[in-house]
Amino acid sequence: MEKIEVQTEVKTENTREAFDPRLVAFVCNWCTYAGADLAGTSRLQYAPNVRIIKLPCTGRIDPLLVLKAFEGGADAVLISGCHPGDCHYTSGNYHARRRWSVFGKLLAFAGIGGHRLYFSWVSAAEGQKFADLINSITKEVLAAGPFDPINPARRRI
Amino acid sequence: MNIYRPAAMRLLDAREEAPDVRTFRLEFLDGAARSEFFSRYRVGQFGLYGVPGAGESTFCVASPPTRQEYIECTFRKNGRVTQALQDREVGQMITFRGPYGNCFPMDSWRGKNILFVAGGIALPPVRSVIWNVLDRRSEFGGVTIVYGARTVADLVYKHELEQWAARPDVDLVLTVDPGGETPEWKGQVAFVPNLLKALPAATNSVAVVCGPPIMIKLSLPALRGLGFSTADIYTTLENRMKCGVGKCGRCNVGPMYVCKDGPVFTAEQLETLPQGDL
């Protein structure tokens, strides 16, 4: 946990004028991480704004991790795992899907909208998809602007 | 003055005592803080050791006031703060507040025999008394130490146990709980309270008892059986603490604040405090 806080910590407060989005991606070990790895070994270029955090399975990703990421300064969070039916642990991604379906709507209701929280399936073979995904999310977040600095989810000690 | 502001200490040495149990040797970074501490420190008092970002934790000061170059504490890694403390490396800094609480009335023990009874990780508070007594050996009568732990590995201060065992003016009884012995173990295999029953009857003696609640509970009747009066049996209480200075209310037991009126209590005082579920 300590590592996550460190990686996502605000170094300088972004402004709308000079905005370099910070995207935190919680990915599963078996599909999306391998997909991201493939994107790298295939020399695919994608936005350098993403910090990838590998977990065993999307089923492990607790909403509190996402809140911590927002707390620490993430402008957007991506959760990505295996396609339905491909989960290394049979059903972790199905559990995750249901969880994020509810949590995303609750978060939106509380003022953290759709362009802050993303969910996707990226398999180990989909290096291109991963690169495209990161590029498009970065573009969207760039358009949306920094995660509102007065948003209550952001840590201010 | 901000009473919640600790002093900065540097970690001089960290010794592994038992699994997850370490002894820290610390020095004050500020000379004034050091003299202030040693002008007030009496044996039995405690301090709050902390790491900024993790918080503070309460342990006794395990070194005696007769040694003023450093202070020592011994603690087990168990929660957030103790983890952060043990993650500190020699040369790095930690915070310290203290000394807090009351002390053992050692001056009133002059000329008396002293029996120390300790269990497991509770040797540190007793250790500061033991060294204080040994550093002023001529002022006291016989010294007996009964120390037990669950297993041989759980005994702390092994190096000092050897020193005490070698001294002709100290009777040391070491024991481990049944099942905790190793093939090389030469000490006793028994529970501490059971060993106490075999000791000679008390005359002109005081006892200092420190250990897990169950050990204290069973040791008190054994000591009474040896002839100790409840006023001559001393123990140190532990409660969760935050402020250490009688404000935060956490260590409240009956009308007492353990941080101010304790941690040292006689068995006689304990009898007047609420028993059972505090």
């Binding site: 909403p63 559990h95 249901r98 209701f109 509380a110 969910f119 996707s120 209550p152 840590r155 | 983890q83």
Partner: protein
């Protein structure tokens, strides 16, 4: 026989026959309705019931001091009945640990076991009238711009003192180790800082997905007047719409977040 008389008679009966060692009901105190824990049939005439009885008595079933008196009788309106069914479905209480004194504003249904309670809920209370006022407010917040919503909740959460009255009042909050108690790491900051109160209130609402029966006890208990039911209603609406899940109508119900179906909504996945 009036509703209240019937409840009193049944409560006394349960205690006398030993079908219950404790009855959880409501009494009147200084104009308020507050819980009463009866162990003696002689006290049954203190019981009252009306629409002002807002505490969800199922919350007491996690208390060790109450659990030692199982089996118990519980005076329960439909949302409380649903909470009891939920607790049984989530293995927090044995099916025979409670007898339900099933009541609604204008009818008393007798002392029922949980199976009969489910039957009753399905037959008579399958479609509880939605709270129009609450739904209107949910729409109002949902219609705000994102900035307005963030500002709205920032202001609301700023009142939170983290007394956890909402948690105490809720039967769904049965975790012995609430995440708000955990400090390695400190998941939820305990200081009066926006991110801590945000994390607490959002996490509380989320953890009740599929557990909340919209009984309103949390909001009624909040000393600072936070509109907690808005969050609960948002979640409840989502779970019903997306997963067809209605809490507390099935003793074999699987916890919503702990289960899944292959055809769950996929629309939000990239």
């Amino acid at each position: 026989m009036s509703i209240v008389d019937a409840i009193r008679a049944d409560a006394a009966g349960l205690l006398q026959t030993g079908r219950a060692k404790l009855v959880l009901g409501y009494r009147s105190r200084r104009g308020q309705r507050v819980p009463i824990l009866l162990t003696d049939a002689a006290g049954a005439d203190q019981l009252v019931y009306d629409a002002e009885c807002r505490q969800n008595l199922a919350a007491y079933l996690r208390k060790p001091e109450v659990r030692q008196h199982f089996p118990v009788g519980v005076v329960a309106a439909p949302p409380v009945m649903r909470s009891l069914v939920m607790l049984s479905a989530e293995s927090q209480i044995a099916a025979d640990a409670v007898t339900v004194l099933a009541v609604s504003e204008n009818e008393y249904h007798g002392a029922l076991d949980l199976a009969a309670t489910v039957q009753l809920l399905r037959e008579k209370y399958a479609n509880l009238a939605p709270n129009e006022e609450l739904l209107r407010k949910v729409r109002e917040v949902a219609a705000m711009s994102e900035e307005e919503r963030a500002a709205f909740w920032t202001e609301q959460f700023s009142k939170c003192t983290r007394c956890y009255a909402c948690r105490a009042a809720c039967p769904g909050c049965y975790c012995q180790w609430c995440v708000a108690k955990r400090n390695v790491p400190q998941w939820i900051s305990t200081a009066d800082l926006a991110h801590g109160t945000f994390a607490w209130n959002i996490t509380r609402a989320f953890h009740h997905a599929g557990r909340c029966t919209l009984c309103g006890a949390c909001e009624a208990a909040c000393p600072q007047g936070l509109p907690l039911m808005l969050l609960n209603a948002c979640v409840a609406e989502c779970v019903e719409k997306e997963f067809g899940h209605k809490t507390g109508y099935d003793l074999a119900e699987k916890p919503l977040i702990g289960s899944w179906r292959p055809d769950d909504d996929d629309g939000f996945v990239r």
